[in-house]
């Protein structure tokens, strides 16, 4: 597709994660030529750091390759930072930090989420103890095979802590991060496949396995992989003289305190609101919810609509979402944008 001049661009997509890319793909199909603004120096967002996706263990790279193939003719501005946005005619004029000015008639906010910084839960010892890692670190290891915390085959006892930085008022995130339960089970199964001799424990508060095939994953983890589930939130983690990790929790079903010594502890850092939501909301005049995510017009029929004319949302910008939910919302937002621009 021929690249159009800046002035002719009708839609700006903020964020080149899967929400932004999928919306772009749909907008191209509908005959538009959107411009994508990305704050980092690469596209793909968090999914680019992931290895396999539940529930079918689809390689994350396959999804991303499809999305980038479909959008590679589009103009993508990386390291973009929207300094201000003003109404101009029937659209908006976006001003970037380098002085670039982009006039668009509609904006799609697809800025996604931030991963909770696990070191903030100091009692779990991330960055303090040698054998504590996050879900993201583990995916990185699945992808690269490189991580100082996993060496050799002597990983015999592994723990997963659910709800790290989510459902936690003290961490400033009261909301459920939605995907960590199933991610923990997925990663526990993957670790069991890599280390068949290992004993694996998942520490959870509630197991929220709502999606298609999630419950099957849970049953499989119990029946086929012998993964242990302990209903109790980990209260503290310490290290013994051998460098192993000691985890303390209450087994609330048993009603007794439990402790276990582990070779590796994986913290399921949750999705939290994107750190850069506030400045962007200010620049675009958008509302922010109590949880720090963007505020939709309503949360049932108009999740992709904002309070401002011509500005739309897709994906985890408005709350934690799974990959299929994000893709569905991106398509929905593309249609909303099409309807909005057609009506003008």
């Amino acid at each position: 597709m021929a690249k159009k001049k800046t002035a002719d661009t009708q839609v700006a997509i903020v964020g080149a994660g899967i929400a932004g890319l999928e919306a772009a793909r749909q907008l191209v199909r509908l005959g538009y030529d959107p411009v994508i603004l990305e704050k980092s120096d690469r596209i793909g967002g968090h999914v680019a750091d992931w290895h396999c996706l539940f529930p079918d263990m689809t390689p994350a790279s396959r999804l991303l390759d499809d999305l980038t193939d479909a959008t590679h003719d589009l103009r993508v501005i990386c390291r973009a930072n929207i300094v201000s946005a003003g109404r101009l005619g029937d659209g908006y004029n976006l001003l970037l930090q380098d002085g670039t000015s982009i006039h668009v008639r509609a904006i799609l906010v697809a800025t996604g989420f931030s991963l909770f910084e696990a070191e903030k839960k100091e009692e779990y010892g991330y960055g303090v103890y040698d054998k504590v890692m996050t879900n993201a670190d583990l995916e990185h290891w699945f992808n690269t095979g490189i991580d100082a915390r996993i060496t050799g085959q002597d990983v015999r006892r592994i723990g997963f802590v659910h709800c790290v930085g989510s459902r936690d008022v003290k961490a400033g995130n009261a909301q459920c991060s939605k995907v960590c339960c199933i991610t923990a089970i997925k990663q526990a199964i993957e670790m069991k496949e890599k280390f068949p001799e290992a004993e694996i424990w998942c520490f959870y508060m509630d197991l929220r396995l709502f999606g298609k095939k999630y419950e099957d994953f849970y049953i499989g983890a119990q029946r086929d992989y012998g993964i242990h589930f302990i209903r109790g939130r980990v209260s503290e983690v310490s290290e013994n003289i051998d460098g192993k990790v000691i985890v303390k929790a209450e087994d609330t079903l048993c009603g007794k305190p439990v402790k276990v010594t582990l070779d590796l502890l994986v913290l399921m850092a949750g999705m939290v609101c994107n750190r850069d939501n506030h400045p962007l909301a200010q620049a675009l005049g958008l509302g922010i919810d109590e949880d720090g995510y963007f505020r939709s017009k309503d949360n049932i029929a108009s999740i992709t609509a904002s309070d401002r004319k011509g500005i739309f949302y897709a994906g985890a910008a408005t709350g934690p979402k799974t990959v299929p939910e994000t893709l569905a919302e991106a398509r929905s937002a593309a249609l909303d944008i099409h309807a909005y621009l057609s009506a003008q």
Partner: protein, 118 residues
Amino acid sequence: MMDFGFSLAPSSAINLDTVDLSRYRKLLELEPDARICMGCGSCSATCTAAPFSGMSVRKVILGLQRGQDREVDRMLSACMLCGKCTMVCPRGINTRHLILSLCRICADGTHKEREDGR
């Protein structure tokens, strides 16, 4: 009546039709946050007294709602008020303050019983 050698063991089932919730309701007046406990067990896991005494804030809050008053009293007497549980509660409940309030409610009850000559 013929004695067949059988006797009935008292049922350990909790009967929600007859549970006395007066202490729990008093607690809610003083500590509305008792309602938001989700029973995760962080308080019990971090409790210094728990491994030796069975103390558990989670079980105290639940026990009050299930009429386990004797068990609640026993657990309360083991609390050393160190406040570690308050530090770890993910819902931000001031558990130490809750225990103090509950002790006060229980003490009032005991005084009243004495005054009534029971």
